[in-house]
Structure formats: structure tokens, C-alpha cells
């Protein structure tokens, strides 16, 4: 095996340690905003990990992946509204709905390539977005409040913020591990081979379509789980959870952190969401330094900083943050 202590592994270990200890820090300092922020990061990180499975490893750029957040979230919200609060019902229904939707969409759009694939996944996602906006009984555009989080047996209590954080943390780790096993298995070799050269895959005897479709469904179910968690986290669900800009965010997370690496999207989610919080504060502070008082509205321009940062990463660090830390690929063994 290769060396265990590399810059990348060190970063991952440090991040995991910090994530594991965060609730301790929050309960000592009483900073529950931070814990809420990071619960959200864990959940969206899970969505990014699921997207990365099809996009980074399978070469299928889904521009509508947030739709599974919506399907998972609405499954919880609608069932809760109808008085079914049991997680044993809500969660399987949500995952099943996500999987079936992925199966239908995948069966159609996996017959297309490139831009067409991107546009069709986007179109289906927007379609569900408008369907949700039209659900008057469930709040339409305004969304609906979830008064009770998913109920499990004692002592599992999702309303306990620390417990919920750790639940998201463990589920995220499980998803990362699952993806890691998947991409190195025979199945994963087929998926990666199809990204690399689909025509040759068929020529050597693989019915590529059914493998890609399976991968698409696995990814959809995983993102549906993130949707379930997100609805439980915000106690609220509305259509904007699956607006196309959210799908874009997920792509940015995967690209920023490092596509085609298992843990990269989690790093990307942390980086993007922390920057979203930190940049406005930084800009406000900078304007104060320069002019002596905080310029009104300066904070709103934080995306002016984020945009070029993303651009630089895409241009100069193809592998994202993860790629900057990983050693460049080279021969494992030399000649002879």
C-alpha cells in the first residue's frame, strides 16, 4: 500500500476530527448557530457525495440533482402533514420515491450524451419544482412547516440537536464509505470505464446502459436521504430546496472539493458553505478598514470574491482542493 500519511489524508483526518468534536465546542460555548451551519454542511455534503458518484466517477453531469433533495424532503413533509410521523414509514417512502424517480429519469436521459443529458436532467428537476409549487395543500410556493421531526423509538430523538448532528455525521461517513467501496468494486470499474471510453466498453462486452442506470438510481436514493435529513433539519420544506441553482451549488461543491475523489465533495461542501457565511463578514470588515466605517451593502458583494476563487480553482487545480493536496499521479512501479 501507499504511504498513509499524505497531506490529503492529514487534511481528511483533521477535518473528520474537527467535525466529530464540533458539538462539544458548541455546547461549551453555546454557539448553536455553528452547529446548525455544520449540520447543514454535512447534509449538503452528502448530496454532493451522491452527485459526485455519477458525475465524478461516471461522467454523468446531472444538472438537476437537487430534485432528490426535494423528493426526499417532500416525502417527509407530506407524510408529516397527513399525520404520519413515523420515520419507519417516512424514510423508506422517501428513499423509494427518490429511487423510482431516478429510475424513470435515468432510463430516458441516459440515452443521451453531453449537453442533452445536462438539459434533460435539468428539465425534469424543474418540472418537479413547478409541481411542488402547485401543491396548494402542501403550501405551494410558500412551502410547509414540519411540526414534528421523523419519529423513531426511544431514545432516538431527532429533535435533539446534538443527536441529530451526529446522526448526519454518521450517515455522511456511511455514504462516503459506500461510495468508496462502490467505485473500487467491479461495478465501479464499469462505471469509471464508461466515463473514460463508453464505446470501447461496449466493444469489450459490457452492456453499459444498465450499469449507468443502476449507478444513477443509487445516487438518487443517496441524495433522497440527504433530502430527508434536510427537511428534518429545517423543520420546513419548500420548492426552492430543488431549484436549479441548488443543483448548481451541488456541482460547485463537487468541483471545488475535487471531482472523482470520494471525500472531495465533503471538502467542497465545507469550503463553499463556510465561504458563504464568512465572505460577507470579511467584506464588511474590509470596507470598514478602508473607509473607517462599514459601507452599507458591501456584504452583498461577497459573490464577487467567490466567483473568481471558483474560477481559479477550475483553471489551475483541476482536481479541486483535494487534487491540490494529492500527489500527482505517477507510475506505481517503474520499468523492469
Amino acid at each position: 500500500m501507499m504511504a498513509v500519511v499524505t497531506p490529503r489524508n492529514t487534511l481528511v483526518a483533521v477535518l473528520l476530527l474537527l467535525l466529530a468534536l464540533l458539538p462539544v465546542y458548541c455546547s461549551v460555548t453555546g454557539n448553536y448557530f455553528l452547529m446548525s451551519l455544520f449540520t447543514r454542511i454535512l447534509i449538503l455534503g452528502m448530496a454532493a457525495v451522491s452527485l459526485n458518484l455519477i458525475m465524478g466517477f461516471g461522467g454523468m453531469v446531472s444538472f438537476g440533482h437537487a430534485v432528490y433533495l426535494g423528493i426526499g424532503g417532500y416525502a417527509v413533509g407530506i407524510l408529516a402533514k397527513e399525520g404520519i410521523n413515523s420515520g419507519f414509514v417516512q424514510w423508506p417512502v422517501a428513499l423509494l420515491a427518490s429511487g423510482l424517480f431516478a429510475l424513470g429519469v435515468g432510463a430516458l436521459c441516459l440515452r443521451t450524451r453531453g449537453v442533452y443529458f445536462i438539459m434533460i436532467t435539468l428539465a425534469f428537476a424543474q418540472m418537479i419544482y413547478y409541481v411542488a409549487s402547485g401543491l396548494d395543500r402542501y403550501g405551494g410556493d410558500d412551502g410547509l412547516t414540519i411540526y414534528k421531526r421523523s419519529q423513531f423509538f426511544e431514545p432516538i430523538n431527532l429533535s435533539n440537536k446534538t443527536f441529530f448532528y451526529y446522526l448526519c455525521f454518521v450517515l455522511l461517513l456511511a455514504c462516503v464509505y459506500l461510495v468508496w467501496r462502490l467505485v473500487h468494486s467491479r461495478f465501479g470499474m464499469v462505471i469509471q470505464g464508461a466515463r473514460s471510453n463508453e464505446r470501447r466498453m461496449r466493444a469489450i462486452g459490457f452492456p453499459v446502459y444498465r450499469y449507468k442506470l443502476t449507478c444513477f438510481v443509487i445516487s438518487g436514493v443517496m441524495c433522497g436521504l440527504a433530502g430527508v435529513l434536510l427537511a428534518n433539519h429545517t423543520d420546513f420544506i419548500n420548492p426552492s430546496i430543488m431549484f436549479w441553482t441548488r443543483s448548481g451549488d451541488l456541482i460547485v461543491m463537487a468541483v471545488l472539493g475535487g471531482m472523482g475523489t470520494v471525500f472531495g465533495p465533503v471538502i467542497g461542501a465545507i469550503a463553499l458553505l463556510v465561504l458563504e457565511e464568512a465572505l460577507p463578514v470579511l467584506i464588511g470588515g474590509a470596507s470598514q478598514l478602508l473607509t473607517g466605517h462599514e459601507v452599507q451593502g458591501a456584504r452583498e458583494y461577497w459573490q464577487l470574491i467567490l466567483g473568481p476563487m471558483l474560477l481559479l480553482i477550475v483553471l489551475f487545480a483541476r482536481g479541486g482542493i483535494d487534487g491540490m493536496l494529492a500527489r500527482p499521479p505517477r507510475e506505481v512501479k517503474g520499468h523492469g
Binding site: 467501496r181 462502490l182 473500487h184 468494486s185 467491479r186 461495478f187 465501479g188 470499474m189 464499469v190 469509471q192 470505464g193 466515463r195 473514460s196 471510453n197 464505446r199 470501447r200 466498453m201 461496449r202 466493444a203 469489450i204 462486452g205 459490457f206 452492456p207 453499459v208 450499469y211 443502476t214 499521479p329 505517477r330 507510475e331 506505481v332 512501479k333 520499468h335 523492469g336
Partner: protein, 253 residues
């Protein structure tokens, strides 16, 4: 013909007004190396495309090993034992040489809905892949990423991938394309060893190699078969000399 492994009858393919395959008929006998030659644009690659299933013919039938495979999708033909190499190198650049070949082994080792065990540790896949690499002389490059291998090595790897699926017949589309003299000689040597155990349909521009290797040769011009026979017959055929060798002279002049 009783001992034909591959039989093509009346194969026709039109692209708009261009007839790329014009009522092509030929058979490849078990164990022979059958070469197809013809000037550029004669429809050789289109013919291979139809044999492996990427191009659907307008008319005609293809029989392989006693089965009508005309309507079979690409991957099913591969699973029946019909392997192909590509004129323009077509590999998996994200993988090492051994990964490339192991993938071909995996394609023929049952379904790949196996989600858990790391495929790179399965000796069931890696060992046959090593054997195939060995056949083409690339053992020492097994763990090399494709990006740091030469064009000649890519051509050899192309062949190793085709071999790894344990085919009964190889469709080779210009395996010598772009090779230097030494590499070509090496490839001829490899093909000469392979023809002892495999049926091979070879498309090649390198006439020296074709006449050194082929048991029979079919000449294709503008999508039509104008001659088919032993290398001696083809060399003596007046129509071939006019259509094919004439073109060569123009190309050289």
C-alpha cells in the same frame, strides 16, 4: 461453407448517396488469417463497424459461429467471442495498462453487479490480464498509467485488450497504424503467433505485413469485393493491380 466461422452475405450500407458497403460477401474460415485490403475510402472500417455491431447495415446478413448476429448489439457479439481492436487507439486513459486489460477480462467473467469487493485485488481478473499483457510483451508496463506510454505500446495494449476477452475471432483494424519499423516487425511476430490459435480478420495498409501473414486476401474497392483468394492469386490479379496498386502509385507520385 461448412468450416466458415464468419459468413457475410450481401452486406450493404449506404450513407446518403455514398455506398460504403456494396453487396459485400465473404467468409472467414476457422483458423485462417483473412486480410482485407483496399485503397482509402474502400469501406474497410465501415465493414468492421458492421461486423462488431456499431453500424447497422441496410441489407445483408452476418453469421458468426453458426448464429445470425446481424441484429445483435455490440456487447453481445463480444460475449460470443468476436473481439475487435480499433484503428484509432481506443483505451481507458484513467487506468493503468493492467487495469485496461483486467476490464476486458471482467466483461467476460459474468455480470458486474458486484458492489463491494475491490476489483483490483481479484486475482481472477488480474491474472488473466497479466497473461494477455505478457502475450504482447507489456508485462513490464503493467502498472504504468497510459499517459506515460508510447503510441507503439498503446497499439500493443489495444491488442492485449482484445485478447483478454478470450475471443474465438479477432477483428483487427489496422493494428500497425502509426508504428515504426521495429514496432511493426514486433506486431507481425505477435500476430503470427496468434494466428496459430485464433481466427483473424485483418485490415491493414502495410502490404508487406499483409502478404507475410494472410492465408487469404479480399480486396475491397468502393465498397465492392473485386477479388478474393490466396496472396499469390491476389498478386496476379489484373483488376487488383489496376484498382489498388495504381492508386498506390498515385499516392507515391
Amino acid at each position: 461453407m461448412a468450416d466458415a466461422l464468419l459468413t457475410i452475405e450481401g452486406l450493404t450500407k449506404r450513407f446518403g448517396g455514398v455506398i460504403a458497403s456494396d453487396n459485400v460477401g465473404l467468409d472467414v474460415r476457422k483458423g485462417e488469417l483473412h486480410a482485407i485490403i483496399g485503397p482509402n475510402g474502400a469501406g474497410k472500417t465501415t465493414l468492421i463497424g458492421q461486423l462488431c455491431g456499431e453500424i447497422v447495415p441496410n441489407a445483408g446478413r452476418i453469421h458468426f459461429d453458426g448464429r445470425d448476429i446481424t441484429a445483435l448489439p455490440v456487447h453481445d457479439r463480444s460475449l460470443l467471442g468476436l473481439a475487435r481492436s480499433f484503428q484509432i487507439t481506443s483505451l481507458f486513459p484513467h487506468f493503468t495498462a493492467l487495469d485496461n486489460v483486467a476490464l476486458a477480462v471482467q466483461a467476460h467473467a459474468g455480470h458486474s453487479f458486484r458492489f463491494w469487493r475491490p476489483a483490483r485485488t481479484e486475482s481472477e481478473l488480474r491474472e488473466p490480464a497479466r497473461v494477455a499483457l505478457d502475450r504482447v510483451g507489456l508485462t513490464h508496463r503493467a502498472n504504468t498509467m497510459l499517459s506515460s506510454m508510447s503510441h507503439g505500446e498503446h497499439r500493443q495494449l489495444e491488442l492485449a485488450i482484445a485478447l483478454a476477452s478470450k475471443p474465438s475471432m479477432l477483428l483487427l483494424d489496422e493494428p500497425m497504424a502509426g508504428l515504426g519499423p521495429d514496432e511493426s516487425a514486433r506486431m507481425v511476430k505477435t500476430l503470427r503467433e496468434l494466428k496459430r490459435e485464433l481466427t483473424i480478420l485483418l485490415i491493414e495498409h502495410d502490404m508487406e505485413a499483409v502478404f507475410a501473414l494472410a492465408d487469404r486476401i479480399t480486396v475491397l474497392v468502393y465498397g465492392r469485393v473485386i477479388a478474393s483468394g490466396s496472396p499469390a492469386d491476389i498478386r496476379a490479379n489484373a483488376e487488383v493491380r489496376q484498382a489498388y496498386l495504381g492508386e498506390q502509385e498515385i499516392a507515391h507520385g
